[in-house]
Amino acid sequence: MDRAPYMIIGNSVAAVAAVTGIRGTDRERPVTVIAREPHHTYSRPLISYLLGGAVDEAAMLYRAPDFYEKNGVVALLGVEVVRVHPDERTVETSDGRTLGFERLLIATGGRPIVPGDVPGTDAEGVFTFTCWDDARSIAAYVEQEGVKRAVVVGGGLIGLKSMEALVRLGIETTVVELADRILGATFDRKASELARRRLEGAGVSVRCETTVTHIRASRGKVTGVTLRDGGRVPCELVILAIGVVPDTGLVRDSGIRTGRGIVVDDTMRTSVEGIYAAGDVAEAADLFTGEKRTIPIFPNAYRQGLIAGCNMAGGRRTYAGGLAMNSVEVLGLPTISVGVTDPDGEGCEVLSDLDEEGPVYKKVVLKGGRVVGAIFVGDVDRAGIITGLIRERVDVSEFRDVLLTDDFGLISLPREYRKHVVSGKGIVV
């Protein structure tokens, strides 16, 4: 059997980074990329910008059109890998082929959750929102049906970005969230409240502590939803944004160890030699605790893919651990959240500064003299310096009082640390 020296399943950020990682070590041997979606490598987070009309289709490409050619990539697009056979070193595809590999990277990302217990999810006008085709289908449906009202189920990041696109399209939107606040997974109560205020100011209706129990339809098309509290919201469009699960179906019962995602060590290798995983599908070590968990965010996916690619090609790099972080604008309100943002005791200390009018809200969470988390709302320009302190586990006891001041900058930090962060190759201070 002809075996691909490097095979990558998936074509998003982790896969692209892996190609880059492989090419950093091996310029010669071909890389095979197999992906379910037919598209050239594209930016997944841009789908909400596409739907809202902020970017056009041409802007969706994440890498230049000649990326595959320049990097010696054989791209099999529109082909789904349905099984991985670790012992045979083969994968089985949806079009009935069996393809061999020497080294394999699984970077399949996540699949959106569709609630099984809600009647009506199969009606026309009900969508999930995680890929390019979703954005196209929703845009076409909005146009064709003249959608005026929409319900977004889920007040997390995907829910809010889809809400934002719908608002841009002039659609009256209701966000339904099961928890008692939106963005509860990444924000604290105050930041959630500021975001909610921004939504309501833009005419978005926010319904917390409830959920959709029934999607109503007429002639197969959505006409509204019924909420748990009995309320009804008429609408012509429903977007399900209740979450994403790692897409591990292809390794089920294969012997490759899985938890919530595919478990990997610090080289991004799975429990099977020569088989790696990276990105939203991977369950890698947490920066703080070392425990394995999935942190499905863009920068981690890139870093993991890069490291996996390097190691697949015989290099040696290790992953320092994942740090949860998100930067998201909510209807023009910039927000950044990093690490532990809403500590539940555990010896954490909180410093915060709030200007309700701005609004500007800044908060850092300290534990044992180190910063373990931060939130920035309204003014995010210095957030990266704090992220650096978190990542490098810098003891901030001596200068903690300046962390939230208006003129906080690199100069606020000890000279040694300053030197460390600005001293790349050839850089001195």
Binding site: V13, A17, S43, R44, P45, L46, Y49, A54, V55, A59, L61, Y62, R63, F298, P299, Y302, R303, L306, M325, N326, S327, V328, E329, P334, I336, V338, V380, D381, R382, A383, G384, I385, T387, G388, R391, E392, D407, G409, L410, I411, S412, V421, V422, G424, K425, G426, I427, V428, V429
Partner: protein, 147 residues
């Protein structure tokens, strides 16, 4: 590649580097016009930080392993293949601020006029970066290395 080196012991905090950076990246390229009319539309790619007697001028480090490139979700932030500089293609930037979130130096800022990331571009195409050329005290100097 060219690299800008800061010497904080020579910096007197005059902020001429900021002004000349602004002029260099202005439409008019004229100091009075740029300062008067375009000041609110551009942020300089170099920032002087000051605390008591200490000050220094800081711009993007053009890191060998740039976290902003890794975090950029559109591909706008990229390494220039000719010079090695880290550049933001403003046509592709959508202003998600992921780069700001991960830059440990704080060298990237939100553009005040266009909703895009704004940072040092090393004044590629010029003999010297404007900040270096106009520093009166050689507190920021240009060095070339072969890396």
């Amino acid at each position: 590649m060219r690299r800008i080196v800061a010497h904080e012991q020579y910096c007197i905090g005059c902020r001429l580097c900021e002004i000349h950076c602004l002029v260099q990246h202005s439409r008019s390229k004229k100091i009075i016009k740029a300062f008067r009319d375009e000041r609110d539309a551009i942020v300089p790619g170099v920032q002087v930080e000051e605390s008591g007697a200490v000050s220094f001028a800081l711009q993007c480090r053009h890191c060998d392993e740039a976290p902003c490139i890794e975090a950029c979700m559109t591909g706008a932030m990229h390494r220039d293949s000719q010079t090695g500089a880290v550049l933001c293609d403003q046509e592709r930037c959508v202003g998600c601020w992921m780069c700001i979130m991960v830059c440990p130096v704080g060298a990237i800022r939100r553009g005040p006029e266009r909703h895009v990331a704004s940072k040092c571009d090393l004044c590629l195409g010029e003999d010297y970066p404007a900040c270096v050329a106009n520093c009166p005290n050689e507190a920021i100097v240009l060095e070339e290395d072969d890396g």
